[in-house]
């Protein structure tokens, strides 16, 4: 087993945990955390493919990861803002009760 495979396995595990969290948790904040985990699994893949790829001297993978972390920070800020707004409106963060947006 090459070191890349190990990294990828860790990343896949991380993604699976994040997906499971996003799908099964009722609390909106925990769903956000699950999404953050999936993002970080993707970042880990970027770094791993860059480090063991054909051109490790070009800093492309690291650039991607830094961008991704910045966007994720902004996304987390927006997501938490939305959750707070919903909480103020409905006095709950339970996603099963947020079902009024159907046709």
């Amino acid at each position: 087993m090459t070191p890349l495979t190990g990294y990828l396995l860790v990343a896949a595990l991380l993604f699976a945990i994040g997906l499971a969290g996003a799908l099964v948790r009722r609390n909106a904040i925990l769903v956000l955390i699950g999404i953050e985990l999936m993002l970080n699994a993707a970042n880990l893949n970027f770094i791993a493919f860059w480090r063991y790829g054909p051109h490790p001297e070009a800093l492309t993978g690291m650039m991607f990861a830094i961008f991704s972390i910045a966007v994720a920070a902004a996304e987390a800020a927006v997501g938490l803002g939305l959750v707070i707004a919903i909480y103020r409106h409905a006095q709950t963060t339970d996603l099963d009760k947020m079902n009024r947006m159907k046709g």
Binding site: L19, A22, L23, L95, D96, M98, N99, R100, M101, G103
Partner: protein, 694 residues
């Protein structure tokens, strides 16, 4: 005819009938209380028509004088027509047009003049009628239609106006439609004239199919001109008749219906149910004369094929019908007691004279009597109206009497009209016009076998003098047998009487044998004043005979009735001496009863048969069809509810269910969506891995 086209008066001849018709249309839109406006419109429009008619007459007259001075053959030259195409069917055209010739010019002046006097008289006679405006509306329509008949150069246009005249006659006879007798008389008049009109229409169709034209005169191609007549003469219609003769007889049937000739005379006496001005205008002076005018108009057709001095079958029929009617109606008139009915039978009788005059002596003879009769008969009817008005709507002569004192103007004018009708010698127009007919009958009797018409007409003259004397004795002499006081009519009624009385005398001057101006004018010859006209063989003897006959009639009438007319409840002088004859005459030879048991009974029977057929046969068939359709509808409903609706409803339900199933996916739960997304991604990856396998 001049080369620069017809003169302006000919171009605008159509205005003469159009103005009264337009006035009638406007009056129809007026409200009932606008009495003065209605009377003014009618009288005004007819006055303009009279002025135009006089202008047209003057135009023809100057033309005639010029041509007579040049000694050209002027019969055709005096005729001016304006024709135009109305409709076109394939290659055949339906042409209409109007004509100005001596015949139509004379009639135009007579109709518009007499009509105007009667309009003026009506403003007095109808003054208290609540439907005054309606009366003038119909009267104007009548005047326009009658003038249309006169100027028509197309037999179709003539027929249209002819029917319009019949319609207004119907409307005016039934003017007081709340009286059942008036409504019945109107229907009778309409239906009886319709019998003649059917034949007339057949004649028109035959004429059109044979000659291809509806115009009378059209520069040589009209149906009354040489080429078409020659074509009609060469066709044989069976029974020894040529097509010309057969068409002539068909047209004569129409004329007989309108002019009250035997056997279609029954409607005219009943038509007296209408207001008296209507009787004067329509049923004495103008409309009933339309039949005579029609025969005069198509005279070339009636005469076609006659050798010089000879006669044709059609003209022989006209003569016999006319002469029979003259005697028949005069006999009935002797035993009538209604003042207007006596005059009505007298009209029928005089129309018979005109027809006989046409048959025996030609257009001029019949037309001269038509014109003079129009004046004196309108005078007599209006005089009768004045009497009826003066003694408060009483029409029975037995309840009159001695009115010469109370109604002097009416009496004098009535006496003039009566003497003109009797043919009192030398002074009155009726003498000359009747004498013309008798002279023609005498000439015909000398040349052909049939002498009977002459004697019939002489006998008719005797009867005319007799019944008119009887009537005048009853009305104006003896003692008054009425209950209400009599009074003279207002001047609006007596002045027209005086004018007509003047013409009843003066018109004689244009038709004496010494100066046969009227005849020459109609025939397009020149006429000079020549006392030698009296020197024709037999003429003076004839005049003496007819005078004698008139005097016998007058004397007999005066002897029987004179100053001692019986009281209403006493029998008539004739009734005492010959009750059986009196009964037959009083009941009008039972013609109405004869029609009642033959024609009317047949129609009643046929109506019942038709009713039975309608109820049972056609009604049954209709019911069967209804029932079948009902059954079919039931079947359709069953199919619809159980088959069509069932499957359709099922389809709808399935569609709705599947829609509901899909709608459940959109639950509004974010995580459900996310789950589906994840599953879809997994499936996508699986497919990619599966398809990318080595």
């Amino acid at each position: 005819m001049s080369d620069c086209g017809p003169a302006a008066i000919v171009q605008f001849l159509w205005l003469i009938p159009a103005l009264p018709i337009a006035a009638s249309g406007v009056i129809a839109l007026l409200k009932q209380p606008k009495r003065k406006a209605a009377a003014r419109l009618s009288i005004g429009s007819l006055s303009i028509s009279l002025i135009l008619s006089l202008a047209a007459f003057a135009h023809v007259l100057t033309h005639w004088i010029n041509l007579a001075a040049e000694k050209v053959h002027p019969v055709d030259a005096l005729r001016e027509t304006v024709n135009f195409t109305w409709l076109q069917f394939g290659t055949s055209t339906v042409d209409l047009g109007w004509i100005l010739d001596p015949l139509s010019a004379v009639m135009l002046v007579m109709v518009s003049f007499v009509g105007l006097l009667i309009f003026i008289y009506s403003t007095g006679y109808m003054a208290h009628d609540e439907n005054y405006t309606r009366f003038f509306c119909f009267l104007s329509l009548f005047a326009g239609a009658m003038l249309g008949v006169v100027i028509s150069n197309s037999i179709l246009l003539l027929f249209m106006c002819w029917e319009l005249v019949g319609l207004t006659s119907y409307l005016l006879i039934g003017f007081w439609y709340h009286k059942p007798s008036a409504a019945a008389a109107a229907k009778k008049a309409f239906l009886t004239t319709r019998v003649g009109d059917i034949f007339f229409l057949l004649g028109i169709v035959w004429l059109f199919s044979s000659t291809g034209t509806l115009l009378f005169y059209n520069h040589g191609t009209g149906s009354l001109e040489g080429w078409a007549l020659a074509g009609l003469l060469s066709q044989h219609a069976g029974l020894g008749l040529t097509a010309a003769g057969a068409i002539g007889l068909l047209i004569f049937a129409g004329a007989a219906g309108k002019s009250g000739q035997l056997p279609l005379h029954v409607w005219l006496p009943d038509a007296m149910e209408g207001p008296t001005p209507v009787s004067a205008l329509i049923h004495a002076a103008t409309m009933v004369a339309a039949g005579v005018y029609l025969i005069a108009r198509v005279y070339p057709l009636m005469q076609a094929g006659a050798l010089t001095g000879g006669t044709t079958t059609a003209l022989t029929v006209v003569t016999w019908v006319g002469a029979s009617t003259a005697v028949f109606a005069a006999l009935i008139a002797v035993a009538q007691n209604d003042i207007k009915r006596i005059l009505a039978y007298s009209t029928v009788s005089q129309l018979g004279y005109m027809m006989a005059g046409l048959g025996l002596g030609g257009v001029a003879v019949g037309m001269f009597h038509l014109i003079t009769h129009a004046f004196f008969k309108a005078l007599l009817f209006m005089g009768a109206g004045s009497v009826i008005h003066g003694i408060h709507e009483e029409q029975d002569v037995r309840r009159m009497g001695g009115l010469k004192v109370d109604m002097p103007v009416t009496f004098i004018t009535y006496a003039i009209g009566m003497l003109a009708l009797c043919g009192f010698p030398l002074v009155f127009s009726g003498f000359w016009s009747k004498d013309g007919i008798l002279e023609a009958a005498q000439v015909a009797a000398a040349t052909s076998v049939a002498k009977a018409p002459f004697y019939m007409l002489v006998f008719g003259a005797l009867l005319t003098a007799f019944y008119m004397t009887r009537q005048v004795s009853y009305v104006f002499f003896g003692n008054y047998h009425g209950h209400k006081s009599a009074h003279e009519s207002p001047s609006v009624m007596t002045v027209p009487l005086a004018i007509l009385a003047f013409f009843a005398i003066a018109l004689g001057a244009i038709g004496t044998p010494a100066w046969p101006w009227f005849r020459a004018f109609l025939e397009g010859r020149s006429a000079g004043f020549d006392l030698h006209g009296f020197a024709e063989p037999g003429l003076l003897a004839l005049m003496a005979t007819s005078s004698l006959v008139v005097f016998i009639g007058l004397g007999l009438g005066w002897r029987l009735y004179g100053n001692n007319t019986p009281k209403p409840e006493e029998p008539d002088a004739l009734e005492k001496s010959a009750p059986w004859v009196w009964g037959v005459l009083r009941d009008k030879f039972y013609v109405d009863e004869l029609y009642g048991v033959t024609v009317i009974a047949f129609y009643a029977w046929w109506a019942r048969v038709a009713d039975w057929l309608d109820r049972r046969v056609w009604g049954g068939a209709v019911a069967c069809v209804t029932w079948a359709f009902g059954l079919w509808a039931q079947l359709n409903r069953f199919l619809d509810t159980n088959v069509v609706d069932g499957s359709f409803d099922k389809g709808c339900e399935e569609l709705s269910n599947s829609g509901g199933l899909l709608a459940r996916v959109q639950s509004g739960r974010v995580q459900t969506y996310l789950r589906i997304l994840a599953l879809a991604v997994v499936a996508l990856i699986a497919i990619l891995v599966w398809s990318a396998r080595p």
